[in-house]
């Protein structure tokens, strides 16, 4: 934990988080005097999701996401907690950098969306061309900015002006176009109960009721079928590459799989205290168990790729694990929906 002093003399406390967007959002709210934890933001902003997007390619392979669309957690959480926000993209990099400088000079911390490749404080092997990493800019330094990257570091770090501009305005898939955001004003006593109920119901809807078979629980089942067929259809080497790609999305790039299930479980646990509901606590335990299966899926997948087809672990087994996750998550969100509908705000 590090403490920094902002341009207007206000202190800022850096806390580690499990995911960039929720960590950043939680820090923005804390800065405005509303102490709200990262899992709470994740739950209220309905961050949990699943989607397989065969038409959206990243490094030539389809994207699978284990979270909602980047940016929605912040927007939804802010709306549900009654905050007014500033959120803007820029066409002109110079204007984008000027605006960032202007705002941080007033002592307001600003969240920006960046491309990981250009952030030189990242470990070399993390640096892939991926524009979806959120971090907080605290204040200007001599040749750059002081930034707080809650998802990656346990301390704050310097980032040069060059890095910042390249990272914010990198061209490529899902470009950030200099997106910057911060809350303008926050309701000092937000109705957390009501926000939680809205968030949980929205999560259930996202996971169960989108009538397209690529999203939510249906998406998991769709992907399972594909995984099982891959070795026959694509050949073993290519099938392994595709499987590795899914696991990368799951474990490595802020699109989190198991990690997100644990954050959601942590949220359910916090909510169960808030609503004094033992049912929510049971659901939290179930979510933890599902997270463990997702991790198992990653382990089995890695083993399949390592041994290159020499017995035991097969694509069918990996697919089977994902199918179990799909079944249990479907049941969990159905139960959650029933439990939440009984609550009164």
């Amino acid at each position: 934990m590090t403490t920094e002093t902002l341009a207007n003399g206000k202190p800022y406390i850096h806390r580690t988080s499990a995911h960039c967007e929720t960590g950043v959002t939680s820090a923005l709210f804390r800065d405005k005097g509303v102490d709200i934890s990262e899992p709470m933001i994740f739950g209220i902003g309905s961050g949990i999701f699943f989607g397989h997007l065969p038409f959206l390619k990243w490094t030539g392979l389809p994207v699978s996401t284990f979270r909602s669309l980047p940016g929605t957690v912040f927007s939804k959480a802010a709306k549900r907690l009654g905050a007014k926000v500033f959120r803007k993209r820029f066409r002109n990099p110079q204007k984008g950098m000027d605006e960032l400088r202007r705002v941080i000079r007033t002592g307001q911390i600003v969240a920006v969306t960046t491309n990981v490749y250009w952030l030189s404080y990242f470990p070399r092997r993390y640096r892939f061309n991926f524009s979806g990493h959120n971090l907080i800019v605290l204040y200007e330094t001599e040749n750059g900015f002081r930034v707080s990257d809650p998802a990656l570091l346990e301390y704050t770090v310097d980032c040069s002006t060059h890095d910042m501009e390249r990272a914010r305005f990198a061209r490529g898939p899902m470009e950030a176009r200099g997106l910057m955001y911060y809350p303008l004003s926050v309701n000092p006593n937000p109705d957390i109960r009501k926000a939680c109920i809205t968030g949980m119901l929205d999560s259930c809807k996202q996971m169960l009721k989108i009538p397209i078979p690529l999203f939510g629980v249906k998406g998991m089942r769709y992907l399972t079928k594909k995984i099982i067929k891959w070795p026959d259809k694509l050949g073993y080497v290519e099938a392994c590459r595709q499987l590795a790609h899914i696991v990368r999305f799951q474990e490595e790039m802020g699109t989190g799989g198991a990690g997100f299930r644990y954050i959601f479980a942590a949220f359910l646990q916090e909510a169960s205290e808030l609503f004094e509901s033992p049912e929510l606590n049971e659901l939290s335990n179930e979510m933890t168990a599902i997270g463990d299966i997702w991790r198992e899926f990653a382990v089995v997948s890695a083993r399949i790729i390592k041994q290159r087809g020499q017995a035991e672990e097969t694509f069918a087994k990996a697919g089977g694990l994902m199918l179990i996750c799909a079944g249990r998550e479907e049941q969990l969100f159905r139960n959650l929906d029933k439990v939440v509908r009984k609550f009164k705000p």
Binding site: T16, P123, H162
Partner: protein, 138 residues
């Protein structure tokens, strides 16, 4: 996942000492934040993609030395770009970028064009004209 199940594998060349946050259950069954040093599975999956990238860069470097591709192709690979995105960054049409990947056409490029490429790739104009002679210099 319990606290003692949070992976703490030693993969210094991968995580470079950075710890990632994880939520895990403590003895009382309460969720707490536990930093993780690294995870073998994570490292393995990352290394597949990273090696693929390194191999591609190396292959392009050799092709440039053999005169089959222009140095622009090498730096484009190094920056993990494709002609479309390099073109957008440099403000040059994609079809022109693709032409400039051919050494004989690249050799005739005028300075302003080279400058916009150099700026887009964050290197100097001189660097853009050649590639490193062995794979270590980067």
């Amino acid at each position: 996942m319990k606290i003692n199940e949070v992976p703490q594998d030693d993969v210094p060349y991968f995580s470079e000492g950075i710890k990632k946050g994880n939520y895990a259950l403590d003895d009382q069954g309460k969720y707490v934040m536990v930093p993780s040093k690294g995870w073998d599975v994570d490292e393995f999956i990352n290394s597949l993609a990273f090696n693929e990238y390194e191999a591609k860069v190396e292959e392009t470097r050799k092709a440039v030395l053999e005169g089959k591709k222009s140095p622009l192709a090498y730096y484009m690979e190094l920056r993990q770009m494709i002609p479309e995105f390099l073109g957008k960054t440099a403000g040059i049409a994609t079809f022109r970028v693709k032409r400039h990947l051919r050494p004989e056409i690249f050799a005739k490029l005028k300075e302003p064009v080279l400058d916009s490429y150099a700026k887009a790739l964050s290197i100097t104009r001189e660097e853009l004209k050649t590639v490193p002679h062995n794979s270590q210099e980067r």
